[in-house]
């Protein structure tokens, strides 16, 4: 573990851990800005989904990772943001107005959900949020005059200042929103609000005895998390261009929880890693499905195997990769492996790889871990 010399209170919690980090983040941003000029819109589309999921991941990180409250109903907040957007757009509101308003509106809903969270803990809170998700889905399906019920709503392409946003324009909008949300989240975590969240996560009793208004901060956490998810919902609605209640089912909420579990609960970086994994896994497996038979062909030809063997291998490979359900199996195995062997998620793994390369050849298994963990808040 590297040690820093601190000469200022601000040093104890900098926005960026080091100068190198600033440089690499700048490179990342530059790469993302250049992406539309380098990539086909298929890959751009994946990036957009990653950004939307990353925003949700950040929202859940604030709620679960920082404030320690569970939610398996975040699809409902996504739905509220999405439907708010569809309705606002239909009534002629401009994007600059309805995008933040979607966040505010959803934030209010989140505040209301936060109220029962004052009394509920752990699994009971999870069930309450789950019930909330069902209620929202039901309301959307029933309130036909506004939501068009189960038939769903089509959204015209978004426009900003009278200009229709094309694929690239929308990509940049998502990028901008993602950067803003991440910066906002970092600052929330650094602020006294964020510290109160952590205090509540570690011990509610201790937090209260130190004068933290736990009721206020718990509902704040819910409102913030919901609001950010609502903004993601707004982008999601535009990305999909069609929304219906069944698109915000329980499985979507579970997806969101998986983002932070796979990515790592402890940091915002984890939320982004998790989003990348959740979105990219499927396209990668598809590429694998398309390419594996070809590679198998090259290998068998390279080995000068008889034709019958070549054909048999190829047929076998293509049968395996085309088997329906293979993807779900691989996905499931990856997740199980992660939960067992890397509970800190992708981000935890990343940190260890970094530490290993820094300390090479002196790195030891145990040096990745701090010598003693006093509090859960030492997770960062």
């Amino acid at each position: 573990m590297a040690h820093h010399v601190r000469t200022d209170y601000g040093d104890s919690d900098p926005l960026f851990p080091s100068k190198a980090a600033v440089f690499w983040y700048a490179v990342l941003i530059a790469g993302l800005i250049a992406a539309p000029y380098l990539l086909e819109s298929y890959y751009l589309s994946q990036l957009v989904f990653i950004m939307i999921y990353a925003i949700v991941g950040v929202a859940l990180n604030i709620l679960s990772g920082q404030a320690g409250q569970v939610s398996i109903g975040h699809a409902a907040f996504l739905a509220i943001g999405a439907y708010f957007t569809a309705v606002a757009q239909k009534h002629g509101l401009p994007l600059v107005l309805y995008l933040p308003l979607a966040g505010v509106f959803t934030g209010i809903a989140g505040y209301l959900v936060g109220l029962p969270a004052l009394r509920l803990h752990g699994i009971y809170l999870a069930i309450a949020t789950l019930a909330f998700a069902f209620i929202v889905e039901e309301i959307i399906a029933r309130w036909e005059s506004v939501t068009n019920g189960n038939e769903g709503l089509m959204l015209p392409p978004p426009s900003l200042f009278g200009l229709k946003l094309g694929t690239e324009g929308f990509y940049y909008l998502c990028l901008l929103v993602t950067v803003l949300v991440v910066l906002a989240a970092i600052n929330i975590i650094r602020s006294s609000t964020g510290r109160s969240f952590m205090a509540i996560r570690n011990s509610e009793t201790a937090a209260r005895s130190m004068g933290i208004d736990t009721a206020r901060y718990k509902t704040t956490a819910f409102a913030l998390s919901a609001g950010i998810t609502g903004i993601a919902g707004s982008l999601y609605a535009h990305k999909m261009s069609f929304i219906s209640p069944e698109m915000f089912s329980l499985s979507v909420s579970i997806d969101f929880v998986m983002i932070i579990i796979i990515g790592g609960l402890v940091s915002l970086r984890g939320a982004v890693f998790g989003a990348i994994f959740m979105i990219m896994a499927d396209p990668l497996l598809i590429i694998l499905k398309d390419k594996l038979p070809l590679w198998a062909d090259v290998v068998t030809h390279g080995l000068y195997l008889p034709d019958t063997v070549t054909q048999a291998v190829q047929a076998g490979v293509s049968r395996v990769v085309n088997a329906p359900g293979l993807k779900s199996l691989i996905f499931g195995i990856i997740i199980i492996v992660f939960i067992i062997y890397e509970p800190l998620g992708l981000d935890g793994r990343w940190q260890r790889v970094k530490a290993y390369s820094k300390q090479f050849p002196l790195a030891r298994q145990r040096s990745a871990r701090p010598p003693r963990m006093f509090l859960k808040s030492e997770r960062r």
């Binding site: 926005l15 960026f16 600033v22 941003i29 800005i33 539309p36 086909e40 819109s41 298929y42 589309s45 994946q46 989904f49 399906a141 019920g149 189960n150 038939e151 769903g152 089509m154 900003l160 200042f161 200009l163 229709k164 946003l165 094309g166 694929t167 690239e168 324009g169 990509y171 940049y172 909008l173 990028l175 901008l176 950067v179 803003l180 910066l183 990305k239 999909m240 261009s241 069609f242 219906s244 069944e246 698109m247 499927d282 396209p283 598809i286 329906p324 359900g325 993807k327 779900s328």
Partner: protein, 401 residues
């Protein structure tokens, strides 16, 4: 640092605004001298895989047969199939992959409502045709005259609304029904059935009677059935899919109640009597094609069943025929378009009004310039001695008795 980030991001966002998609133009890709690439996405591992797997198999068989017979004007079809797990997000990405990486000429027989509606603007935006999706949603064929890109979508799937309306009309007219009721699944699909129910009764100048609903996935229907029995319904329209339909008729049998039942396309499948046994006897059903049985099939249907069995090791079902028909209809119209196959020539061939007939005795398919829903008629069957028996073909609720 923050402000610099914000500034650069903002500048970029504004420059990005300049990028605009061109007005929809029809585009042709994926056609070479020897090959036509078509793409599709179905649910092979999610909640509706019982539809996706057989439908995709039917499609693969059709492609195999078309290619074995020399292809379409000398071009072989290359089918690229993706598994969307009934996730609209995946469907969007996969459609983009099919369009951009695989250069598909057309998206044929994609499956599901949300999973086809979300990616559809992408297909239209690319100027490619979106043909015969396996969903009856109106968006898939209804055209807005102001939107030229709407000419790119065609469907041959009988809307649930149409089949339900026809079923209610037929049974009321033939069985002297006094009090028709409906039980329906409370979702998008169910709404088609309740709309059909109220419109048809209005048409027949009959008062509406009991309507009861259930949630998707429900397993206990006793209260719904008891209520309809208490209200004295003599016809029960089942706005449900197979498992729920079986649950409802079984509950009725347990209560010793035997009204006339009528089902629409989602339940017009052999599973209904296979699962429902005695309770399903006498049910009327309306669907797109005649239902076939491997042991009694003859002619082309028999050949189809044998080829399917040989290729996949299982018997085909009704779902298989939807994928098979999609690919066959594509081959028929692409063949009509001639050697110079482009998106324009394909659309012209389809809008020519030439009739495509499938091998299963389904309603004839034809399109025109202002109608892109290819079917207007359906088949009516009844379960007799544990099998669907066709009692009327080429029926439509629009025609007079």
């Amino acid at each position: 640092m923050t402000s610099r980030f914000l500034l650069s991001a903002a500048i970029v966002a504004l420059t990005g605004l300049a990028a605009q998609p061109a007005l929809a133009q029809f585009k042709t890709q994926g056609v070479t001298d020897t090959e036509i690439v078509i793409g599709t996405h179905m649910d092979l591992s999610g909640p509706i895989k019982s539809w996706g797997v057989p439908a995709s198999s039917g499609m693969k068989l059709a492609v195999e047969q078309i290619n074995a017979a020399g292809g379409i004007n000398g071009r072989k079809i290359k089918l690229i199939l993706e598994d969307d797990s009934y996730d609209p997000k995946k469907a969007v990405l996969q459609t983009q992959k099919l369009i951009e990486l695989d250069k598909a000429f057309s998206i044929v027989s994609a499956m599901g409502s949300a999973t086809t509606l979300a990616p559809m603007p992408l297909v239209q935006g690319a100027g490619l045709t979106h043909l015969f999706p396996i969903t009856a949603a109106e968006f898939t064929f209804k055209m807005d005259p102001a939107k030229p890109e709407d000419r790119l979508k065609f469907n041959i799937f009988s809307p649930y609304y149409d089949t339900m309306r026809l079923g209610i009309k037929y049974v009321i007219e033939h069985n002297g029904i006094k009090k028709p009721c409906i039980v329906y699944q409370d979702d998008e699909m169910g709404k088609n059935f309740t709309d059909a129910y109220s419109d048809q009764l209005k048409d027949l100048k009959m008062p509406e009677a009991t309507r009861v609903s259930f949630k998707r996935g429900a397993t206990d229907f006793n209260s719904q059935v008891a209520r309809m029995k208490a209200d004295g319904c003599d016809l029960v329209a089942l706005g449900s899919v197979v498992r729920e339909s079986v649950g409802i008729v079984t509950a009725a049998k347990k209560l010793g109640w035997a009204p006339t039942f009528v089902v629409s396309s989602p339940s017009y499948v052999p599973d209904l009597h296979e699962l429902g046994k005695d309770a399903a006897e006498g049910i009327y059903g309306v669907g797109q094609t005649e239902i076939f049985y491997p042991d009694t099939a003859t002619g082309k249907v028999k050949e189809f069943i044998e080829a399917y069995r040989k290729m996949f090791g299982v018997d085909p079902n009704l779902q298989s025929t939807s994928g098979y028909d999609g690919a066959m209809a594509f081959a028929f119209y692409a063949g009509l378009a001639g050697k110079n196959l482009t998106t324009e020539s394909l659309i012209a061939a389809m809008e020519s009004g030439k009739v495509f007939e499938d091998i299963f005795g389904g309603a004839p398919v034809s399109f025109s310039k202002d109608n892109h829903l290819g079917v207007s008629a359906a088949t009516i069957g009844q379960i007799k001695n544990g099998r669907w028996v066709t009692i009327a073909k080429n029926q439509s609720y629009k025609t007079e008795k």
